[in-house]
Amino acid sequence: MTADRADELDERAPPIEVRGLYSAFEDHIIHKDLNLTIPHGDVVGVVGGSGTGKSVLLNTIIGLKRPEGGTVKIFGQDIEHASRRKWTAIERRWGVLFQQGALWSNLTVKENVAAPLQEHTNLGHKEISELADLKIALAGLAPGSGALKPSELSGGMIKRAGLARALALDPELLFLDEPTSGLDPISSAAFDELIRDLADSLDLTVFMITHDLDSLYAITDQVAVLADKKVVAMAPVRELEKSDHPWIRSYFLGTRGRASAEARKAQAAASGAN
């Protein structure tokens, strides 16, 4: 696994590069000439109104949906023309947390986390078991929860277990589909913090679809805005506040957007005073 790693993918290429993406369902156009480059090490939030194709974009990037036009490159490799070898190399380097967790319901949490390791490594049972325990702990789950089945978990635990599985192969690229949706504000904040911590300490590049303004302010380096079938802006959240695009304005300067921004400012001021 380690020997063939270097020659497979270009280390210096941006983790995600989407060029001229065109997606459509029959005659309903979803993306047209969409461009998006995510640089190494950034936590990028992807926002957009309902129906702007955030999930379609995610599915296209992770290869579940074939685009109608344009190219998607992961670590410099065009995924549509990738050989099986390159695909395997890509799969080892990304992790995906689906919106509902998508844990395999017939396996326990620990077996879920161990599955990617069994699939992609030649490690022994003991090592895999230990590594799975480690990931479960990293994701902030209590040690006993490895033995539980997904149906026995709460919403927040499912997200954490899904994150543990996404982190199983120590990916460099992490996809999160609305990681804090359906969580209460305290769990959301804790989950945000966890993602930020992991991104910083593991040097992750994160592609995160979210509706949660607090998450955007708390953890993203940049925010990509999907509107008018393309990415209309990609900038740090503070700069987007000043944008004059109508959708961005109503998003950030609506009542909820202002409340989040002010809460962050107050927090920053408080920590500055200390």
Partner: protein
């Protein structure tokens, strides 16, 4: 406190005034709402006094607005502020324009449905071919590299889909054998040919009933559970989660189910054969006094092993069909619960239909071959 809706009308200088009372709610306003509409027909200026009203909900507000707006040009509402707010809220919602719904004519729709149906048959045939091709690749991959096969899943499914079905398969074929025996005994006795009941039971059970009954039971029991399991996993994005990890769902889900049924089916058919013969034997012994020794010697000389092998030869084919249809329908499930229900139903119906069809084809082939 609870009073039905009512109103009183009075004539004023400007027009008509209605004083409403009681609860104007969805459950209590009948029939006052219709009377109010009639009372205000053709009136140009209306004053509606709502100060004496009990409770008002959105349905009541909607009826009052509808009655007032039907013909009156100026409407004057006298009401408490919270009632006025509710009226305004409902008024805004009523005035918000809905998207125009294109009404299709039934004639047009009829042809559209036929067209869709025809195209869907083609698409489904194509999808089935894609599925079968994919399954063949998965089987070839498993043969080429048996260490990659998920044996644990294979054998746990073998137990669940195969061995757990043993009691029901055995019980059902036992009774089928007995019924065939009884019918045969009664009919053959009338012309004194009751010894031929052994031959009748032997041929019916060995050749047809063992394999058909097993197939129908497994289609209802295992085929549907394959479709439901895989479909639910698809709805929950579990299959997407496999794909992004580079795990082919055909290797992880379809092949083990296929393997389990392929292995279990002939064994179940064998058990069904024994049970069916036992059922026939019980009847022959108790009704006609033909003991086991006679029964089996007669079975060997008049029926012979050919019929047994004819029945068994259908087993692997039917196993492939039932497992294939169940898994295929499961993979076809979309994102909604309705499609899950539809596909599970389809898996059972298609599998039973295919079973009967294939059995007929086998019967024709063996007839031509004179077996």
């Amino acid at each position: 406190m609870d009073q039905p809706a009512d109103f009183t009308l009075s004539q004023t200088a400007q027009g008509r005034a209605a004083v409403l009372s009681g609860d104007w709610t969805a459950t209590r306003m009948e029939p006052a709402n219709e009377k109010l509409v009639q009372a205000l027909v053709g009136v140009r200026e209306v004053s509606i006094d709502l100060t004496g009203i009990g409770r008002l909900d959105t349905a009541g507000a909607y009826e009052i607005l509808k009655a007032a707006d039907a013909s009156a040009r100026t409407v004057n509402y006298i009401a408490r502020p919270e009632i006025t707010r509710l009226l305004e809220l409902v008024d805004r919602a009523v005035k918000a324009e809905g998207t125009p719904v294109v009404r299709r004519r039934s004639f047009h729709e009829f042809f559209e449905r036929i067209g869709h149906g025809v195209i869907n048959v083609g698409l489904e045939a194509f999808d089935t071919m894609v599925f079968m091709g994919h399954l063949l690749v998965a089987i070839a991959r498993a043969c080429a590299n048996p260490r990659r096969v998920r044996w644990a899943a294979c054998f746990s499914l073998f137990e669940r889909a195969g061995l757990d079905a043993l009691p029901i398969v055995v019980t059902t074929t036992f009774f089928i054998g007995a019924v065939v025996g009884l019918l045969g005994a009664n009919m053959l006795r009338t012309f004194g040919a009751q010894v031929f009941v052994v031959q009748l039971i032997g041929v019916a059970v060995l050749r047809e009933f063992n394999v058909i009954i097993t197939a129908v039971l497994l289609a209802g029991r295992s085929g549907s559970s394959f479709a439901a399991e895989i479909g639910a996993m698809k709805m929950n994005q579990e299959i997407d989660a496999m794909r992004v990890l580079g795990v082919d769902p055909f290797d992880a889900l379809v092949f083990p189910r296929f393997f389990a049924l392929f292995l279990a089916f002939p064994l179940l058919v064998f058990a069904a054969t024994i049970a069916g013969l036992a059922g026939g034997l019980v009847v022959a012994w108790s009704q006609l006094g033909l003991g086991p020794t006679f029964f089996f010697s007669q079975l060997l000389t008049t029926v012979g092993p050919t019929h047994f092998w004819v029945g068994m030869s259908k087993a692997p084919v039917l196993a492939i069909i039932i497992a294939g249809i169940g898994c295929h329908q499961g993979m076809e499930v979309g994102g909604d619960v309705e499609s899950l229900g539809r596909k599970v139903t389809a898996s059972v119906v298609h599998a039973i239909f295919a079973t009967i069809l294939i059995d007929a084809v086998f019967a024709l082939i063996y007839m031509k071959l004179d077996i």
